[in-house]
Each structure stands twice: as C-alpha cells, then as structure tokens.
C-alpha cells in the first residue's frame, strides 16, 4: 500500500463509530477493492447455545467493506451510501475465529457503484457469506 492509502486505511474505521464499536480493522484498500476483518467477540453472538456470531454483525461488516470498496474506486469522487445490499449466508462462522471480508467494486457508473463481497473465517475454502450491493456515487 502507498503511504496515502495506508493513511486512509488507518483513518477509515476510526471515522465510523459503528464499525469501530464492532472492532473492525481495514487491512487492505486498493482501487475499488477493500479487505476488512472483525475479530470474534462474545457481545456479537446471535446463537447463545453455539456461540455463533449474529448475521446482523456479518451484515454490518459486509456493508462497511462494500462501502470501502465503492469509495476507493478511482472513478468515485466522494463518499457513498448503500442503495441495497443482499447477503447470502452459506454457513455459520466458526465461533472464536476472526471473520474477514474482501469486497470488489466490479463496475461503476456516474451514479452507481456495483459491489460484491465474500466473508471467510479460518477456512478459506468455504465462504461464510457472500454479498452483492449497489452504492451511490456522489457528485463532488
């Protein structure tokens, strides 16, 4: 990462109170791509019997990562907001493991950024969830 991008990465989560509250960490930012991880935290449990993280926390992680990818695209001059986001839950995330997401803005117009993302735990071969979403492209 260039100095500029590293700085953006460091500041990105710090500027978003909800992402900070969920302990998210931006680990990589490219030109229309982003990687964010969220360490396991018992406060985010959705199923107390198994200790599996709530789908809502995974949604928040996906939304943040997709938004970061949309914002980092060279053709996106400003901030962004989610228009819609669909999440498919393939399997429960393994309790105790960090969830990592990677998002890619695969197409962008003057008004809309199209983004997809994958969430993984320690087992890279089987995704925990996938997401597809559209985000606004704000005029400067």
């Amino acid at each position: 990462m260039s100095v500029d991008k590293t700085k953006i990465a460091e500041q990105f989560i710090g500027a978003i109170p909800h992402s900070q509250a969920l302990g998210m960490e931006l680990t990589e930012i490219g030109e229309g791509t982003a990687e964010i991880s969220m360490p396991y935290d018992r406060r985010f449990i959705g199923d107390p019997e198994t200790g599996v993280i709530h789908g809502g926390a995974v949604s928040a992680l996906m939304d943040t990562c997709c938004g970061a990818a949309a914002m980092s695209h060279p053709k996106n001059p400003g901030t962004t907001a989610t228009i819609d986001l669909r999440i498919d839950y393939m399997r429960p995330a393994t309790p105790g493991q960090t969830i990592r997401t990677r998002a890619e803005c695969y197409h962008i117009t003057r008004s809309v950024a199209f983004v997809r993302a994958r969430a993984m735990d320690d087992d890279d071969s089987r995704p925990v969830a996938t997401a597809t979403g559209t985000f606004t492209v704000e005029a400067k």
């Binding site: 978003i16 109170p17 406060r43 993280i53 939304d63 669909r86």
Partner: protein
C-alpha cells in the same frame, strides 16, 4: 355447555412477556444494539433507541447501514420466531421459566437477507415491524419495514428467507 372461565389478564400477559423476554435477553447481539420489543397482543414492534455507536457517517450524521441491516434482521428473526412459538406459548406447552433459564427452542436461521435503503437513518430512535409472508415446514419468507419519526416514511425495508428448525429439534 359452559365456556371455561378465561384466564386472568395478568396471567396471560405475564406468560407472553416472559416468553418474549427470554427470546430477546438470551441473545448478546440484540443487547449490544440495545434493541427492545414493544408487544401489543401478538403484534411486536422493535425499537432501537439511538446511540452514538450506531452512527455510520458522523458528518450528516446518519445511522450505519450495517446497524440498520442488523436491526431489520433481528426484527425479522424475532418476529418469525414469535409467530412460530405463539401457539405453544398460549397453550402453555412452552414453559417461560425454562425459556428464561436459556433452554430456548431452536430458532430459524437466515438463508438470505436483502435490505433496501430508502433514505438515510437519522440520529433518532428507529422502529420496525416484521410481516411473515409465508412460514412453511422448512422455509419462511419475511418482510420488514423500519421507520423513525413518521410511520408513513420508512427509511429502510428488507426481505429475507429463513430455514425453519426441524420439528424434532425441540
């Protein structure tokens, strides 16, 4: 033929509220977001009181899309679970004391969830209601709508599919 005497209203309310509380209190993430449920008969309204840590864009400020998505998903799962368990709560087949101890029945699992963001979420309390469009033996389809100051101006809506617990899962 005489009708059996209806139960005293306090007994009915106590049983329903105990069951609802057990469903909600047991889930750490619902507590983390501070979501509460207002019950009128079998109708539930989810309430997410505003807190700073729900903010996504501090400049506007606006609720984080992820917080909104999570609020809608919690509302959908609790609404669906509530509809699924209602008959067993009413008949007394589900013991609220057992529920309170954490012996919860298996709950539906999210298969997919799609959120439409209609306008930005203001730094205010948010409300949501779920509508179970279909609840079958294996799958259910649920719609949710969330609003803030005006019921007629929703700020987000969602629809999702859920895998129902198998009957022999308890």
């Amino acid at each position: 033929m005489t009708r059996p005497r209806p139960e005293p209203v306090q007994v009915v309310k106590q049983r329903r509220d105990a069951a609802l509380n057990a469903l909600i209190q047991g889930v750490p993430y619902i507590q983390f977001l501070g979501i509460e449920f207002d019950r009128r008969g079998d109708e539930l309204t989810a309430v997410m009181p505003f807190q700073d840590r729900l903010i996504g864009n501090p400049l506007l400020p606006a609720l984080h899309g992820g917080a909104t998505a999570a609020f809608l998903e919690v509302t959908a799962i609790i609404g669906l679970s509530w509809a699924m368990l209602w008959d067993r709560i009413e008949s007394g087949a589900l013991d609220p004391d057992e529920l309170a101890k954490g012996n919860l029945p298996r709950l539906p699992k999210t298969i997919d969830f799609t959120v439409d963001y209609l306008r930005s979420g203001l730094p205010r309390d948010a409300y949501a209601r779920a509508h179970v469009a279909r609840s079958g033996r294996r799958y259910a389809s649920v719609k949710v709508e969330a609003w803030q100051d005006n019921r007629a101006r929703p700020f987000a809506q969602a629809s999702g599919h859920f895998l129902m617990p198998r009957a022999n899962d308890g």
